[in-house]
Amino acid sequence: MSNNKEKLLEIKNLKKHFNVGRKATLKAVDGINFDIYKGETFGLVGESGCGKSTAGRTVLRLYEATDGEVVFNGQNVHSKKSGKDTKELSRKMQMIFQDPYASLNPRMTVKDIIAEGIDIHGLAKNKKEREETVIELLETVGLNKEHANRYPHEFSGGQRQRIGIARALALDPDFIVADEPISALDVSIQAQVVNLMKRLQKERDLTYLFIAHDLAMVKHISDRVGVMYLGRMMELASSDDLYKNPLHPYTRALLSAIPVSDPDVEKNRERVILEGDVPSPTDPPSGCPFRTRCPLAQDVCAEVVPEWIEHEKGHHVACHAYDERFSERFDAAREAMS
C-alpha cells in the first residue's frame, strides 16, 4: 500500500434507491462512506443482493446516485458537467465486468473491442498507432497479436477476462472497478487473472475497487476491505485486521462460513451458522439490517440505526455492541456466545 495515503476517491453518504413497483423502493445502497487511497486495492464483499455491485456502478456514475457524493481527484463525479468533462472523467475510471461471456460484443473483433475507447477519445493518431496500441495491450495481458482479429467466442473464459482487462487499460485509467472479475472462472484460471491484476497494478500504479463474494480471494488481493449487508457498510478495516480481528457479528459469521481447504481444520472448527436468509431489501428490518439474523441482537438494534464508529484506528464498524452508549446491554449475549 502507498504510505503517503493520498485519497483518490471519497465516497460520502452514497445512496442508490430504485423504484420497484408502485410505492416500493429498493434501497440497494443506503448511505455508505469510505475513501479509496491512491494505489491501493479496496475490496468490497457481501452476499448477493447486498448492494456491492450497485455501489461499484454508482461510484462510476453508471447509475445516477440518489443522494451523496463521489469525489474523484477533487472532482464530484455526480455533479452536472459538460459532455467533455464527463468523457474526460470516464477515461480515468474504468470497469472490468463479471461475466466475460456477456460483456464482450460477439460481433466485434478483439481489436475493435479493445480500441473502442481509443476511438471514442481519439487517442490514436492513425491506424498504425491504433494497431500498435492494441497489440501492446494484448501482450500486457498475456495474449498476442494473432488474437487481435478473432472474435470473442474463439476464446476461453480466462482469455476473455484478459480481453476485458485490456479494454479497461486501453485508456490508461487511474481507477478500475472490478466487479467480480474472477467469479465466472475456474480456480486455476482465477489465480492467473488475479496475478495479472496485481502485476498491472504495480506497473501502472492503478487503484482498484475489487468487488467479490469470495472472501479468501478478496483478502488475498485487497489492502483494505469493506463488508456490506443489505445496502449498508457493516465493517471496514485493513484486510489483515479484518480477518484476524473481525468485530461485527456479520463479518464473523461470514468468515467462519468460508470452507477452508484443509480437512483437519474443517473437522475441528466451530462455525457460527447464521439462521435464515437475507431479508428482502425492499422491506429491510428497522434499525440494524442484520439484527434479524444476529446472534447478539438486543432491543436497541431494532430501534436505532447503528452509527459508523471508528473502533480502532482505521477499523470502522456499524454495530451497537461497540457503541459506548449501548455496549453494556450486550454483555449477557456476549457471554452466552463464548
Binding site: Q192, V194, K198, H220, P259, L274
Partner: protein, 344 residues
Amino acid sequence: MKKVLEVKDLNVFFDTYKAEVQAVRGVSFDLHEKETLAIVGESGSGKSVTSQSIMKLIPMPPGKFAGGSIKFNGEELIDKSERQMEDIRGKEISMIFQDPMTSLNPTMTVGKQIAESLIKHQNMSKAQARKRGLELLELVGIPNPEARIDQYPHEYSGGMRQRGMIAIALACNPKVLIADEPTTALDVTIQAQILDLMRDLQDKVNTSIILITHDLGVVANAAHRVAVMYGGKIIETGTVDEIFYNPTHPYTWGLLGSMPDLEGDSDEELQAIPGTPPDLADPPKGCPFAARCPYAMKVCENHMPDYFELSDTQKSACWLLDERSPKVEPPESAKVGGSKRDEQ
C-alpha cells in the same frame, strides 16, 4: 464397507459437428455405503458427465457410451431400458442440481413435487404423500412447513429452494445421492447451512453421496474420499487426508496451490497453473495435463501413465511416480496446513 456403486472404465463420448468429443475417458471408481465421494475438477473435466451417466441422463444421441460399466448394487445400469431406469431414478439414485431455480418446476407447488416420486415409487395416497412431504420439509429445516408446502418455488429464497430440492431428492430414501455443485449458486452463509444439512442427513438416512464440486474448501468440509478429474480422466484419487496432505499429482498440487489461503501472506503470488485445459475433441495422446505440467517429461506426451498405487486407498496417474523418473518434491504452495501439521 459394502460397495453401492462400481464404475469401471467408463467412456462417454459426444458427437458434435466438429468431431467426437471424448468427455469421459476410462473413469473408474467405487462408492461405498454411507460415504461421501467428492469429484473435483475444472469445467470441462468430465465430472458432471460422469455423474449424469450414472443416472443415464445423458441425451443419446449426441451422447453415447463407448464402453465401460456402471454397476449399482451389482446390477448393470448401462443395459437398462429407459423404463427400468425410471424405477431407479428418484427411488434408488437421486440427484440435486447446481441451480435450484431452473431445476425445480415453476408451475408446481413444492409439496406436489415432493409427492410426485412418493406416489410413483411408494404407491402412497395423496394424503400420505403430503404427510411425508411435511416431515421432509421439517427434516431439511424449512420453517413453517404447513404453509410452505403449498407454495411455488418462486416464493422460496435461494437457500430454501436448495433445501426443497434436497427434500425432493431424499423423499424415497435413495441409496445414492448425486449432488452436482449443490452450493455453487449460494452465498457462503447459506452454503454453510446446506453443507451442514447434508452431513446431518447422511447420518440420519444412510445415503452415499457423490459430491461434485470445484471448491476444495467444500471438499475438505464434506468429503471422505476424493477423485480429482482432469481432461476426462481421474488423475488422482484417495481419502480426503491423502489428497490434501500427501498429494502426488502435479495437477492436484496446482489446484491446492491456486487457492488463496486466509491465513497466508497476500504479498506472495498465487500459484497459477499456466495455460488452459485440453480440447477433448482432440484429446492428447499421453497425459492430458502434460501440456500445462511444469514437470512434464518426454514420456508424458505420448503415453498415459497407469495408476500407481500409493496405499490401499490412494492411486495416482503420473509418470513421476515411476521409479525411473527423477524424484520431485511437491511445491511449498501445495502444502496444506504447512508447518502446523509437521509439528504434530
